[in-house]
Symmetry: C2
Subunit: 481 residues, 2 copies
Amino acid sequence: MISNKYGVFIAVTGLLLGLSACQSNPGKTVYESSPQTRPEMNVSDSGVHSFTLGNGMKVLVKPDHRSPVAVSQVWYKVGGSYEYAGVTGVSHALEHMMFKGTEKLKPGEFSEIIAANGGSENAFTGKDYTAYFQRIASDRLELCLENEADRMRNLQLTEAEFKKEIEVIKEERRSRTDDSPTSLTYERFNAAAFINSSYQQPIIGWMEDLDSMQLKDLSSWYQTWYAPNNATLVVAGDVDPLQVYQWAKKYFGPLTPSKIEPPKPRREVEQMGERRIIVKVPAKVPYLLMGYKVPVLNTAKNENDIYALEVLAGVLDGGNSSRLSQQLVRGSEVASSVSAGYDLYARQQSLFLFDGTPRDGHSVKELETAIKKQIKIIQNKAPSKKELDRVKAQVMAASVYEKDSVFYQAMQLGTLETVGLGWQKKDEYLQKVQQVTAEQVRLVAKKYLINDGLTVAVLEPQPINAAKRKASATTGGRHGR
Amino acid sequence: MISNKYGVFIAVTGLLLGLSACQSNPGKTVYESSPQTRPEMNVSDSGVHSFTLGNGMKVLVKPDHRSPVAVSQVWYKVGGSYEYAGVTGVSHALEHMMFKGTEKLKPGEFSEIIAANGGSENAFTGKDYTAYFQRIASDRLELCLENEADRMRNLQLTEAEFKKEIEVIKEERRSRTDDSPTSLTYERFNAAAFINSSYQQPIIGWMEDLDSMQLKDLSSWYQTWYAPNNATLVVAGDVDPLQVYQWAKKYFGPLTPSKIEPPKPRREVEQMGERRIIVKVPAKVPYLLMGYKVPVLNTAKNENDIYALEVLAGVLDGGNSSRLSQQLVRGSEVASSVSAGYDLYARQQSLFLFDGTPRDGHSVKELETAIKKQIKIIQNKAPSKKELDRVKAQVMAASVYEKDSVFYQAMQLGTLETVGLGWQKKDEYLQKVQQVTAEQVRLVAKKYLINDGLTVAVLEPQPINAAKRKASATTGGRHGR
């Protein structure tokens, strides 16, 4: 699967490629408090407690008592894909500024409080969401909710803090995108693959837009999107759902909702033929990116196609026994690395991606030909039962492993809720994947992996002028900040 | 030069490709009224009277008494390139709605008044401007100013009119873009050539955006941009500048200015390698578009480069004796048509364009190779004195011919003022073009017509399914409306 090689912004969504949901909890959740005190609370078979506050804010709680730790995440329905040209990067910039204090707290004080209580915290901005999280001893959870509620409505955006922070953000862009040949290629690739969809633009924002960004762009963004009725609180870990409910009511309940206008749809225009771009940047190795337009759950006419595409990604690239790895890396040795990936949970139409680096002595063209040959093979002949069983077993295994991470469980709930699918979709995943047939996999390969919907980007390495290279070792900084 | 083949939106800017300005008027304009009554009025050597109203509105008057006709044009600094994704096409849609009545006038009544007075009127939307004009007997000019002032601030935007008009606009898009293979190719070509510049998006708007357009998008656009301090009135023809000044003061003077925020810069990111797209649409003949990133006057570090590019366009394509025509159409017969074009007056960085259709029996690839060969020739050897003299003579001739049209004279003033160059730039044109040397032409060809800044779009004709073709004979409609 496509890993987090594209830097932090993609890293986050990258986690979701091949996302598998929790297995249904065996048996009903044991109520931790008497049922009659929480009439608005629903409990799913998978143990997710959900309720909606009077102001429209959703709260999801997933108890997990294996260790005395809680994760709190506040998800906002806003991110890179909500932006329009000229202010790209504003969601991410605002995410940075959310740590700069409120009427009650000084800049950085929220983070200090969490650290002083032995917790860790951060935030991330994706195409379809912005989220803030803390991981903390479960008896300190209240602190998180209190202060998240505070900065949802009382953020202090000052010119002085903004002036400093925008430079940090630009440095982040330089080190993670402009100085990273593959990230830069990926950015240009997206800009070619999408025309009017907002997936065309980078989450970090074009440097031009960062250069012209003003404090008022951020305050307008904050006013527009940061409201309880545009947010979801997800709490997972060693918690009592009723207690979380009471705290949520206490801290988030009094916040007034906003009138939220949904963003313009910006459904991508139909692609009418192949697109190719060359990206010449100083680099040592070439790099190939190929993307085919595909539907996702949110845009699907036929949900079966989506799960079949998910399994297709697993057949082509799900570990060392997958086809791309076997045939291209170890077999013909044309690639030093090659991957395929698909994010079925994107908010808008997306891409079925291939990327890779040719091995020394082989060209990008050869790698592309080899990938296309693998596509043709699966278009003509359905995968074997053995292959399909492997993919399905991997999905089952992943769903067990992931339970080790309360953070990841919360992340799945937050993502699904925030992209508009509803967190319940998580419970369908395993079953739907198990139902996919070999012939369905062949048919979606034939239907969607076609040249008329293909975009190709080729990184052509240019000589590296050592003197001109920025020393990027100094940038560092926190993840997603 | 690239003609108006791209439909009305490009047609308007198309006029400006190879635009040449009026020759300086020999001698000072004779004052038509006593100078002491117009202290704010300036008169240029070329006979343009200019003044600014107290509310910031600019007024330009170019008297021309050859016939008793006047042209009135109101130019707004807003157009397709001011828009952001999701609301593309809103400037043009608003232009349509500007004919739908005010507090004082019923829908269509302004047009009826002009027609009843023997005049004609219309409007056009470009990338960088929206303009409204009337051509009328000069003794009826006051009518135009009175009613233009009225709709600048008092437009009535009703849901009922919008519902009807948006369908007209969509039909316009279908007939002029979706049913026109070359227009469609040009639209996709721009979307590939530009990434974050607003020249990426079509003036008519993506159909998706027209589908989701709401009345409030238009009223917000109207509130934001339609204000006296964002407009220029240009009057040309058989008029007395002082009288125009008095009327302008009377009708536009009382309008309150708005706080106008300039649009975000959206300077295009540097292109790092060639881009190619294929556009497969039902069509009979293939079509090639090639565009090289070039600066324009507004973005130029060196103005000489801009005028040299202008002359380069003339050498390659300025009538039957130009190189492309001589070598590719009549010489090798590889092309049935081929053109080059450049718009030095664009508001933002633009393209040096080539387009053409291969002759039967020749491929698009051959045409591209032939064009590139011509580029190489001029990159290696400066044009002859004879060629340069031809281009310069053509420019001189054009500047004489164009004086025949008061409309065109007004259009030049309005364009230059509205894209931010200032109308005075018009007076420099002839002299600057005459100063261009053959070596400068060679050098700009070498500097800018390079593969790393090239975008190529190829229309690959698909079989035309007669049954599916829309009958577009029924669309008709007024130019630019």
